[in-house]
Structure formats: structure tokens, C-alpha cells
């Protein structure tokens, strides 16, 4: 059983990585899109960011140096990522449940990272009495249970909302319920494992060390193995669903909502425009006159109702 768990764990990690890469590569290999920014754009410098202004407020903006403020961007990004500010502002009743859920997941990511550090230290022969590793273990012992409890509690709250709130229920599909139940069950098993089998996560650390070292060390605790299976399957599952927003949000914000880069002195953009204007158009409406062979450049410069000059 434990050997199979290792195999499933490796497979799940591969699925996770491939699925994440597939989504990212799929996005970045899409052709250039038109500008569709939405203000406020966070990286605007100075006071403009505060009132939602843009460089387009300047006369002959193209002759002015383009400025961008990382500080202003972080001022928006950090509260949004850490505290889900948009939900707080626009959907407070949901925030009370979705915030602990997401905070629990953030803790879970930190927890896995700390387990990784502890495992590497273990493999390197650094004992738990070393000051740094001791601190890592102490934080792990706090972050792990916090992650399980917050995610489970937030997940239960979200499940309750999706079942009882008619407005939300109307838009909730089987997948929503399945996802939430998967998280709740995974965290419930993790809590039980922590309480009854692995209170200081030494078993978990050893399992991760074995994974890293490809050792396939046998594990005899069935509940622990169930927990590992649930965790790795959840990790593999996340990027296959809408929950992939946790990393795709980067593109939705930076490339679309805040994608305000003008096409001034940008040869790469000109080149990309040249590519898309040569795509064939096959829209069927008569006024488009796209036959699947004519390009966007041809269709866009074709006037279906052109009058002769003399008729004007």
C-alpha cells in the first residue's frame, strides 16, 4: 500500500506540474490581443493610482517617459492576494467564509514548504536540535494544524453558503460541491492524522524525505497513507479546475486588466500585429466577406459598401 502511495504521489506531482504548465503555456502562446485595460490600473505612478487616472491624462503622452510604480502595484496586489480585498469590499457575507478558506490554503502551501525544508535537513543529517531546524519544526507545528482547521472551517462555511443561499446555489454545479467536499474531507483526515498519529509531523517529514530521495520507505499507518493520497490527489486536481485561478490570476490582472502598454516604439508588438493581421478569417456573415482565405488585413481594408469617388 505504501509503495502505491509513493507512485500516486509522484504521478500527482507530475499531473500538477503539467496541468499548470499547460494552462500557462496555453495563455502565453495565444496571439496578441487588443488592449482591454480597466481602471484603476495599479502600477500608475503617484497620485494617479489613488483616483484611477492614467498616462492618457497628459497632452502628447507618447512624448513623455513611461513610468510605472511597483510600490503602487504591490499596494493593490498584497491586500488582494493575502486578504481577498475585492471580496471584502463587494461581497462581505462571502468573505467571512472564503477568507479563512484561502488563508488555510496559503498556510497549507507554507506547511508543505516547511516540510520540504525539514526533510532536506533530515536527509542532510542535520538534527532537529539545530537552532534553525528547530525553529522550522516549531513553525510547522503551528502552520500545519492552522491550515487544516482554517481550510476545513472555511470550506464548511462555503458549502453551507452554496447550499442555503439561493442566489449562490443557482450558480453552483456538482463540481463546486465536489471541490469543497474534497477539501473538507482532506483537511478532516489531516486533522485526525495530526491529532492521533503524527502530532509533530515527523511521519510526514520522513515521507517527504523518502519522496525526495526516491527511497520508497514503507509506512505502516493506514490513516496517514489515506491522508497522503487525499492531499496529493487534491494537489493534482486543483489546476484541472477553475481553481487554477490561483496562478492564472496573474495574467488576468497583469496582461488584461492592467495591460496598458501603448504600441509606441515596440517593434515586437508591431511584429505580432503583423502576424495576426495575416490570419485567415472565416466568419460567415455576408458583410464580413471572409472566405477562410482572406486575411484580417484584407477583410479590414475591404469596404463592403464602398461608393465610387464620383458618386460621393
Amino acid at each position: 500500500m505504501s509503495q502505491l502511495t509513493y507512485v500516486v504521489a509522484y504521478a500527482a506531482i507530475i499531473v500538477f506540474v503539467v496541468a499548470v504548465l499547460k494552462r500557462i503555456v496555453g495563455y502565453i502562446t495565444n496571439p496578441i490581443h487588443v488592449r482591454w485595460e480597466l481602471y484603476p490600473v495599479a502600477h500608475e505612478p503617484g497620485e494617479r493610482a489613488s483616483y484611477g487616472g492614467s498616462y492618457l491624462e497628459d497632452v502628447e503622452w507618447w512624448n513623455k517617459p513611461r513610468e510605472s510604480s511597483l510600490i503602487n502595484e504591490l499596494k493593490v496586489m498584497i491586500p488582494e492576494i493575502l486578504f481577498l480585498k475585492a471580496v471584502w469590499e463587494y461581497n462581505r457575507p462571502l468573505w467571512y467564509f472564503t477568507f479563512p478558506f484561502h488563508l488555510g490554503l496559503y498556510f497549507a502551501v507554507v506547511f508543505i514548504g516547511l516540510l520540504g525544508i525539514g526533510s532536506i535537513a533530515q536527509l542532510a543529517g542535520i538534527g532537529p536540535d539545530a537552532a534553525l531546524i528547530s525553529a522550522v519544526h516549531a513553525v510547522t507545528n503551528f502552520v500545519g494544524p492552522a491550515a487544516f482547521i482554517l481550510t476545513a472551517a472555511g470550506g464548511l462555511g462555503l458549502l453551507y453558503k452554496r447550499v442555503t443561499d439561493a442566489e449562490l446555489n443557482n450558480y453552483s454545479s456538482f463540481e463546486h460541491f465536489f471541490n469543497l467536499i474534497l477539501f473538507i474531507v482532506t483537511c478532516a483526515v489531516a486533522i485526525a492524522t495530526w491529532l492521533f498519529i503524527d502530532p509533530n509531523f515527523s511521519l510526514a517529514r520522513s515521507f517527504v524525505a523518502s519522496l525526495i530521495a526516491f527511497k520508497f520507505t514503507a509506512v505502516s499507518e493506514p490513516l496517514f497513507l489515506v491522508q497522503v493520497l487525499l492531499v496529493v490527489l487534491t494537489i493534482a486536481y486543483i489546476p484541472l479546475t477553475h481553481m487554477s485561478h490561483f496562478f492564472m490570476k496573474y495574467f488576468l490582472y497583469h496582461d488584461i486588466r492592467w495591460g496598458d502598454t501603448p504600441n509606441i516604439d515596440t517593434p515586437k508588438t508591431d511584429e505580432q500585429i503583423g502576424v495576426v493581421l495575416n490570419y485567415p478569417v472565416s466568419w460567415s456573415a455576408p458583410h464580413i466577406a471572409g472566405d477562410g482565405k482572406k486575411t484580417w488585413a484584407e477583410v479590414a481594408t475591404f469596404n463592403p459598401v464602398a461608393k465610387e469617388e464620383k458618386e460621393k
Partner: protein
């Protein structure tokens, strides 16, 4: 079926109407007003077009007469939907559309941001996610072909009624993108409304006549959706020059086709017909400031409208290219857009990645130039001439979609002693209700719908902005620097008799500037004229 408990799959049901918004559901306004009931659809309209969504018909979808015609509607829609998800046919918006399809958490955080949802008394049909969720379920099952899609994502029966209702429903959104602004993930439900419109136009050839046949096609044929050709528009502007020279005491000469001028100014040609004082005001200000500028009489170059922005990428590109070609031909240094919001966004922002390199003439808004003129002291201004309450409507395309917020306010603060903001404003403003082309539509119940639902939040904002000076004894001015918004606000002022009851008028920003110019005869703004 309760209108508020509408289910996603109700869109496909064999019912006479999907929903309706009775007067008792409407969001209350700050004063008592008697709302009319919806007029019944005329029989010939019901015979001709599919009228099964609610009490309004905007998109004229021909009624299918046979099973074959019903199937054809569905098949053409699916064919268009498939093309919408190909890079060749939809490189313009594919990234935004795919990410919205894939990553929306269906948390409904965006709902309360929608002015139509609020104004309709939270009718489910107007919830920004309603049409998107229908579209998404069809996409996942029939285009993406996800295994067990009905189970995983939820079910929508795809039949001709689903298609017809979804098409009509795509015209229950102003595409103001206020909903997108609130999305924690960055999904864009307003975009989906526009993408559905594209399927109908670009694949099925079904379009709103005001936008297509009498809109973008007239612009491509005559040069303007007003049907003015270059000779007519020049004649009209000459007449405006003459008329307003006499009235203002200032010699107005609007330059045409000046090669090598610094600025090609492009007006919305609707101004020439409906608000000639706007055209004259620009000419007076630009001349007084000593700018080198011109209008162009080339095809479409004297009309900045680009209705393609509302429904069709190809029509959009065609119009944008004509605008840029005119500028290139004259050899101007830049294009400046007059007071027209969607023209601003179309040519300055969206066309930025459509225009090929030879047509990359810099483009900018008129507001920063006007701000610089006003603050520079180049023209003498007397703010006391504008000593009446003024509020500013922010056109969505200029503010939320371009971030041009402060220049207009700098002008207001300089020349309008009683300027007051609406709340919220700037990038968080509410649409006037005429956005995405509705302002020019007046068929059957459309005007009533614009006033009752689409514009309801805006009229509430306007009334609230003037809450300290209600009544006809105080003249009030709504500054709406956008042709489309002006049309909508004009209609609401008329519908709610606000000129009579509140002595309220509306117009643009240049009219306020000219009204304050000391070299101009007093009284440029006339309350009774609009």
C-alpha cells in the same frame, strides 16, 4: 415562475417570456414618479421577430417558421461559437474570453456592481453572471466538449429559444464593465455580452439596425452614420460657423483638410446634427488658443463613431483604419477625439493593436488639451458666468476604460463655482444607461427600457447631486462630455420632465468653457434649447 428565482436552464424553456420587470420591482428613485407599464409588442413585430425574452426587442432575430429554420439558428450559433474560440477568427479577444470561461468562481461578487441588476429590483436575468453562465455551459459541452459536462458544470438545453434569448440578452448590458472591476479573479462578464453579439453579427448576420445597417454600414458607405457625405457635412459646419459667429460675436472659421496641421480633430457627427453648439465651441476654443488644427472631409474621418466597438470586430477595424488613413493622408501630428466616449476608447486604446505600423498616428483625448488651454490663461474666462450648480457625468469609456479622470475636473473646478460630484464617480461611475449604442435606439419599448432600467441609476445619481437645490428656481447643468451619454441624459430629462420641474439641462464640457469666455456674448448655454 418567480422572476427573481429564475434558473439558468429557464432560458431554454418553452414559455412565452423568460422574465419581466414590473414597476413595483423597480429600484425606488428619490422622488415620486409615475412609471408607465410596458407596451404590448405589436402583432406584426411578434410575427416578424423573436420576442420571448422580456418586454423589449432590440436584436431583430427572424422568427423561425419551420423545424429546419429552428435547427439552422442553433447550428449557426454553434458554428459561430466555435469560431469565437479560434485564434484565427478571434485573436482580438480570445485570451480574455478563455480566461473568463475557465476561471470564474461563480461567487456573484460582481452582481451588485451592475446598475441594471440593481435598477430592475435584482431581477435574475440582469445578473452579470446569468448570461455568462448560460454561454459557459454551452461552450463547455458543445465546443470544448468536456466529459460529463452537464454533471460537472450544470446543464443548459440548447434549442432555438436558448439561442434567441441569449442573443437578445446580450443587449441587456451596457458593456460598461463595472462588474469586471469588482471581480476578484479578473473575469469579465460584460465582455461575454459583446462576444455573443459578435457571433450574431459576424457569423449569423443578425444585427441591430441602428448599429449596423444604419450605423457602421452607413459610415462605410457615406462617411457617417448620420448619412451626411463630405459635402453635406462641410455645408452644415459652414452654417454652424456662420450661425454661431452671429450669436457669439466671435468670427468662427472651422478649418477643413489642412495638410500638415498639428491636430486632426474628429467629432462625433451626431453633434453636427443634434448639438451644433458643441462643434462651434470646439472651433472657438481651438482658434482662440491658437492651435494648428483641422477637420477632414475624407470618408468616415469627420465622424468619430465606431459602432463596431459595440458588436463586431471587423466593422470596428474597418472604421478605425479609415480614421487613421485620413490622418496619414493629411500628415497631421496627431488625432484628437472630440466629446465622444466610445470613439475615445475605440481609436486610442483598442485600435492600438489593430493599426499596422504605417497608420500608427498618435491619438489622444480632447480633455487634456482643453484642460491645458483653460489653465494656461490663453483664453480669458469668467467663472461667474457659470455660477449655477453643475455636476459631471463620467462616460465609462473615458474614465473606467481609459483612466482620464482629472482633466475634466480641473476644468470644472476652474470655471464652475458650484461644481459638485456625483457619487460614485471617476472610474467607479455608473453608466448613463445609453452605453454600447442603446442611446440611439428608440424602437418599440427600447426608449422606455433605457429610462426605466438602464438609466435609472444615473438619474438617481443626478438627482442626488442636486439634492441641495431642488426645484425649478435654480438652473442646473449636467455636464456629459460624450455624444452617446448626452443623448441618453437628454431623453431622461425629457421623460422625467426635469427641465420643467427642476430647470435642469445638460450638454458637454466645451459649452461650459465657451459660456465662460469673456470675448463671447454672454448666454452661450440656453436652458430651453436642449
Amino acid at each position: 415562475m418567480s422572476r427573481k428565482a429564475l434558473k439558468i436552464n429557464d432560458i431554454s424553456k418553452d414559455t412565452e417570456k423568460l422574465s419581466s420587470v414590473p414597476n413595483e420591482d423597480l429600484m425606488p428613485l428619490p422622488w415620486d414618479i409615475e412609471e408607465k407599464e410596458w407596451d404590448e409588442f405589436p402583432e406584426d413585430l411578434k410575427e416578424r421577430n423573436v420576442c420571448i425574452l422580456d418586454d423589449v426587442n432590440i436584436l431583430p432575430i427572424p422568427n423561425p417558421k419551420t423545424k429546419e429554420e429552428e435547427d439552422e439558428l442553433v447550428n449557426k450559433f454553434l458554428s459561430g461559437m466555435k469560431k469565437l474560440f479560434t485564434k484565427e477568427n478571434n485573436w482580438t479577444f480570445l485570451s480574455m474570453l478563455e480566461t473568463t470561461m475557465e476561471h470564474c468562481a461563480k461567487c456573484n461578487t460582481c452582481s451588485d456592481a451592475c446598475h441594471m441588476y440593481e435598477a430592475s429590483g435584482k431581477n435574475e436575468m440582469y445578473r452579470p453572471t446569468y448570461r455568462t453562465e448560460i454561454f459557459r455551459r454551452i461552450y463547455k459541452k458543445h465546443v470544448k466538449k468536456e466529459p460529463l459536462s452537464d454533471l460537472r458544470n450544470g446543464k443548459v438545453d440548447l434549442n432555438w429559444k436558448t439561442v434567441a434569448r441569449l442573443g437578445e440578452l446580450s443587449y441587456r448590458c451596457n458593456v460598461c464593465r463595472r462588474c469586471a472591476q469588482t471581480c476578484p479573479i479578473g473575469a469579465d462578464n460584460a465582455l461575454v455580452a459583446r462576444e455573443i453579439r459578435k457571433i450574431f453579427s459576424q457569423e449569423m448576420g443578425i444585427t441591430v439596425p441602428e448599429l449596423h445597417k444604419n450605423g457602421s454600414m452607413l459610415q462605410l458607405e457615406f462617411g457617417s452614420s448620420t448619412k451626411m457625405n463630405s459635402l453635406v457635412v462641410r455645408d452644415n459646419v459652414d452654417f454652424i460657423d456662420e450661425d454661431f459667429s452671429e450669436e457669439t460675436g466671435v468670427d468662427i472659421k472651422t478649418p477643413w483638410d489642412v495638410e500638415g496641421a498639428d491636430i486632426l480633430l474628429i467629432h462625433n457627427a451626431g453633434e453636427v446634427m443634434a448639438w451644433p453648439d458643441n462643434i462651434a465651441a470646439f472651433s472657438m476654443i481651438f482658434n482662440a488658443a491658437g492651435l494648428s488644427w483641422t477637420l477632414s472631409s475624407d470618408l468616415a474621418a469627420y465622424d468619430s463613431i465606431n459602432y463596431g466597438v459595440f458588436y463586431d470586430d471587423v466593422q470596428f477595424a474597418r472604421t478605425a483604419i479609415l480614421h487613421a488613413q485620413a490622418a496619414e493622408k493629411l500628415g497631421v501630428k496627431k488625432i484628437v477625439l472630440g466629446e465622444c466616449g466610445h470613439a475615445h476608447k475605440a481609436l486610442t486604446v483598442i485600435a492600438d493593436r489593430v493599426l499596422p505600423k504605417p497608420l500608427k498616428i498618435p491619438r489622444e483625448s480632447c480633455f487634456p488639451i482643453l484642460r491645458d488651454i483653460v489653465l494656461s490663461g490663453k483664453i480669458k474666462l469668467d467663472p461667474s458666468r457659470n455660477n449655477f450648480p453643475v455636476t459631471l457625468h463620467d462616460p465609462c469609456n473615458v474614465t473606467r476604460l481609459m483612466g482620464i479622470i482629472k482633466p475634466q475636473r480641473d476644468i470644472m473646478k476652474a470655471i464652475c463655482p458650484q461644481f459638485r460630484e456625483m457619487h460614485p464617480h471617476g472610474p467607479h461611475n455608473y453608466c448613463c444607461g445609453g452605453g454600447s449604442g442603446f442611446a440611439i435606439m428608440h424602437r418599440n419599448n427600447i426608449s422606455e427600457w433605457r429610462n426605466k432600467i438602464a438609466g435609472r441609476k444615473k438619474i438617481e445619481q443626478i438627482l442626488n447631486a442636486f439634492s441641495d437645490c431642488r426645484g425649478p428656481e435654480t438652473p442646473k447643468y449636467v455636464c456629459a462630455p460624450c455624444s452617446n451619454c448626452k443623448g441618453q441624459i437628454r431623453d431622461m430629462i425629457e421623460r422625467y420632465e426635469l427641465l420643467e420641474k427642476e430647470n435642469m439641462t445638460y450638454s458637454g464640457i466645451v459649452e461650459l468653457i465657451v459660456n465662460a469666455m469673456v470675448d463671447v456674448n454672454p448666454g452661450y448655454i440656453k436652458w430651453e434649447e436642449y
